[in-house]
Symmetry: C2
Amino acid sequence: MKLGLKRAGWLGVVALGALGAQKEERIPGFTRAGSRAQRELEAKLRSIPSPEMAERHLRFFTGEPHLAGSDRDREMAEYIRGQWKEYGLEEVRLLEYRVLLPYPEEVSVRLMEPYESELNLREEGYPEDQDSYDSSVGLPYNAYSASGQADAQVVYVNSGNPEDYQQLEQLGIDVRGKIALVRYSVPYSYRGFKALTAQQRSVAALLIYSDPADDGYGKGETYPRGPWGPESHIQRGGIPYDFLVPGDPLTPGWASVEGARRIPASEASSLPKILCAPLSYREARKILENLSGPVVPEGWQGGLPFTYHVGPGPARVRIRLRMDDQIRPIWVVEGRIRGSEEPDQWVIVGNHRDAWIYGAVDPSSGTASLMELARALGSLLRQGHRPRRTLILASWDAEEFTLTGSTEWGEQFADEVRAKAVAYLNVDSSTSGPNFEASAVPSLNDLIESVTREVPDPGTGRPLHQVWSKRTAGEGKAAPVENRLGSGSDYTVFLNFLGIPIADLSFEGPYGVYHSIYDSFHWMSRFGDPGFRYHSTLSVLWGMMALRVANASVLPLNFEAYARQVTVYLREVEKEAARKVDLRASLAQASRWLEASRALNRRVRAALDRDALPAPDRLRQLNQALAAVEQRLLDEKGIPGRPWYRHLIYAPRYTYAAEVLPGITEAVEKRDWEQAQEETLRVEEALRRAVEQVETASSFFAAQARRKQRLSLRER
Amino acid sequence: MKLGLKRAGWLGVVALGALGAQKEERIPGFTRAGSRAQRELEAKLRSIPSPEMAERHLRFFTGEPHLAGSDRDREMAEYIRGQWKEYGLEEVRLLEYRVLLPYPEEVSVRLMEPYESELNLREEGYPEDQDSYDSSVGLPYNAYSASGQADAQVVYVNSGNPEDYQQLEQLGIDVRGKIALVRYSVPYSYRGFKALTAQQRSVAALLIYSDPADDGYGKGETYPRGPWGPESHIQRGGIPYDFLVPGDPLTPGWASVEGARRIPASEASSLPKILCAPLSYREARKILENLSGPVVPEGWQGGLPFTYHVGPGPARVRIRLRMDDQIRPIWVVEGRIRGSEEPDQWVIVGNHRDAWIYGAVDPSSGTASLMELARALGSLLRQGHRPRRTLILASWDAEEFTLTGSTEWGEQFADEVRAKAVAYLNVDSSTSGPNFEASAVPSLNDLIESVTREVPDPGTGRPLHQVWSKRTAGEGKAAPVENRLGSGSDYTVFLNFLGIPIADLSFEGPYGVYHSIYDSFHWMSRFGDPGFRYHSTLSVLWGMMALRVANASVLPLNFEAYARQVTVYLREVEKEAARKVDLRASLAQASRWLEASRALNRRVRAALDRDALPAPDRLRQLNQALAAVEQRLLDEKGIPGRPWYRHLIYAPRYTYAAEVLPGITEAVEKRDWEQAQEETLRVEEALRRAVEQVETASSFFAAQARRKQRLSLRER
């Protein structure tokens, strides 16, 4: 026996000991008997996903570039369909949508002054990673850029956020008609927001590069020696304004199915009107070191070995972009396991399949984890374990463009999803390193924490919850689950358009090759997850969460945490508004919501503890009531200026970061107190609806309690 | 009339208006009549120092390298002597001390692996700055390095502080017998402390380089385009352990005068036993990019364009150092203006003259300001304005080695200085930019603030105090004068050995050429002070402060602020000690000190307001009592392990940063509660002595008050 194995075994024993204590506790939403059965089921589940199989899946999915709409993308969709059928999933099908999916025909960035030189948009190959030589890789581009040409002096604008342009203004630099060169990542903002910001300022064109201080040698060892971005890596990526409306830009709010109405591109609010292209730091350097003008303001200096200047010029650049702006097909793979008792209550799990190139991390790690989950669920079904509720698995497409596949699917089946879905559990990239991260609506915090208490961290063997909560506490977070939900992945349609409780899971680590050719199988096997144990662990976590929601007697949705979070958000905005907005009525509703949720929880716990559940029909209604609470927080008018985004508590900021209480927050930021007060009223009403919904859920116990009381009176 | 001039004239009017209001107020320490006379004197003083003359002085002092002990250093001392005599100063003399002043005979740093290359220790010349070509510039070195040879693999240790070595230990890196490569500046620590830290860890040799992130292109434009350090600049500098004892290492605590006893070098606690040499980043890069091993911990990455590794090796370096370890003469120039009424109360002003090369900022800007001050004081004397108290001007030498000249002078005249000096006002570098900085014992805060209220900021024309306090408030400081006093310049012997109230003044700005050949006249005239107005303004500020102390009826020492600061320090250490040390008695003494100081201040103000001062003999005793308060805070046993440092409130940390309550603080950091309690007792006693001294001062008023009362009774 090798030392390594011996040590792993020893860790396994420790883990078992540490985790053992949990095993006696009731699982949230389950009776004692139900908990025992569920844990037996989970023991079987845990034994299925394997690192070896995850590695095989990943090798397959990263074998060739598979951009959304490409032949390989379709082949992979068909492969998944085949595999899922083989695993035993039911009703497996391919859904096709036809959406605006531009590919590039010409991408040229040419330095014109102080010397002429065509910038090199190819990433260098490394012998360690044969995939890095693939000549079938297309031109790097920013999807949804306008087509056209610009020839102008360059200005460096740091991250390209509004405050950066403000600083330039203070320096007396006029950016109109200039080409703006900005860096991707510090402080992080979504590239589409950089594009909109530049467009609003009449910038002629935008170049976005990866500064080595942000994701290159300034962070650590670069590829292929380490996980960070080497000098020629290029971050591709879409720049649609999908913080306004996601999904196919030509079918905003409805599905791009056969015969669907399409609006003209000129009317599509999510389509940028600016030229935009990505650059590596090897090439951006040629521009940056030829900028004069003032030295950059504090915080703008990056990691290249010279003092940065803002310009304009003398560097002058000519940009030529030609996009084909084609309508292309994309494919969502869907499979399910029908629920034995509540087939019309759906637990949906999903991951996108399309990648910029190989996408070993983004998203193929998640796809590999999804395949292992599908295999495990199929196997359990064959062993006779059909869940109480229906499980739906989805392999989305074109997430990299505008979250397109999931959005179209959600729009297509909106009514059914609203009526049936009880939770959506998303995984985009499952693994780029060892650090577990989870974000979710607050009602799902307990579910996530309960599962992580029973699963060992692959690195240390200690309970994952312990490692995870210690790390997040060290990062200054109050709680391990992130409840401030922005956007950037496929849960958006479920949360913001449909009002379904969502969670999003991943393991993360140092990762500087995002959206570049180096996000490859070799990168993953060398740096991201050399033993593929995080891939398989994620399948286990994901599966346990899905099965706990699917099998629970009472849906594990805890609204106490939600009410508490909303109170925090209201207090924050109250402070920001310097008491110019009266939030007392909303705070009172949040407080009522907390009380109602506490009362509900007491009843749920009492019923589960004593195995005294309502009768099946009432239990079904109870669970439907619980699942619908999230929808009460939506308003069909949407938030101001963004009617597609209907959730009144959560929205993405234009940067894709979380924005809580978006309507009030944006009004307060504009100092529009009247609108802020109107938005507050909408939130107050939403919270009142949520209270009523929780009270409705409670009533099924109350009625039961009364009924029991009546029964016992009769018996006397 | 040019626009620039017109605008300056307009600003002048604004300034006059803004400053005018102050003119009616009583100057601290002066009667109303005295204030009027003092302001008339100051108006004359202000008209004398001129930017043009400051520029001429600076051009002269930066004409040639003038290392301490060199021929040019002596010529400059003699020149100053001549000038001061011409200006009308009295008793002008040269004092010679013979001290250990090593010059380098060989400094060689040779890369041996992975390829052989002698590192280039010459700084590149630039046509804009002809002085940068001077071939008479000696080898760059770290003064007091050991001599010898080392040949070993290199380890990168960030800043070379103890916590950096701890991090290496956690990475499993053994530094013993290796060559440590460290950067100078982040977080800043005195190079001598880096040497001691390396020596204690059995490092074979130390190389200290200037990382571009700290003082080069990472900060801004580099020389000759900007004020920051270009790739070949080298920071020279001493590495003695003068935080243990400053001054000639062979005469610790006594003066290196003719016939003085010298201890063997082997017994000199301030002499390093390690090899140490400085490097530019151009050369350090050749080593750093050939280090493998782990990637550096967070915060260690600098500004060179690759990922830093800690090593050890494969880079191997051979260092050869031969120092001549000669005893050399140094020269202090001293001149005075005898006081008319209190010739035995001294106000001392001083600046060092020696530079690593040209030292345009460090210290020649201060020397130029001192010359303008001397010229002004001489001129006032000729106009019949002899100060009440004696002014002593000093041009120190070998500050760059171990604060040597001032320390030897202070040790030589210790008894007389203790008996007579009422304040020491230091200026080292007077100007590297537009930002005023002052540090002082808290009792001098009022003096400094009062003067800055009446002098316009050269950049804006607004009162300097306003610009300065706004800037320091923006930096998060509670008050503009820095009261946490470390070391690093010539005030050390006065404060820490002799107990004289000290202040230190400068104008500062972006300055990346410290101790390099580029700290030159061209640098100053282009970046540091293009119009030389800050040089002349500093002469005015310095002169006004000196003359206010010299002419005040009651010395402008306010101990309320001191007592308040000490209370803050005691509270901090109490918190740090988590109440394991009982500081209540010390806090009670600080509180008594505050009350006694308040009572004293009331009497002083009442007397000055009513022009009802004690009789001359009693006033003399009162002022002597005030001047002696600072000495009550000293303890002749010194602080633990550092007997030369006698001040119980202030000492330099080993890093040269300020350490308040050094005895208690160090004991608390060692968790030695018993010693901390003993040190607390010493502080308590020192504070009690300070209280008594303040009460003694007060008593001269009390007696007067009683006497007046008696007189008035008799009259009835």
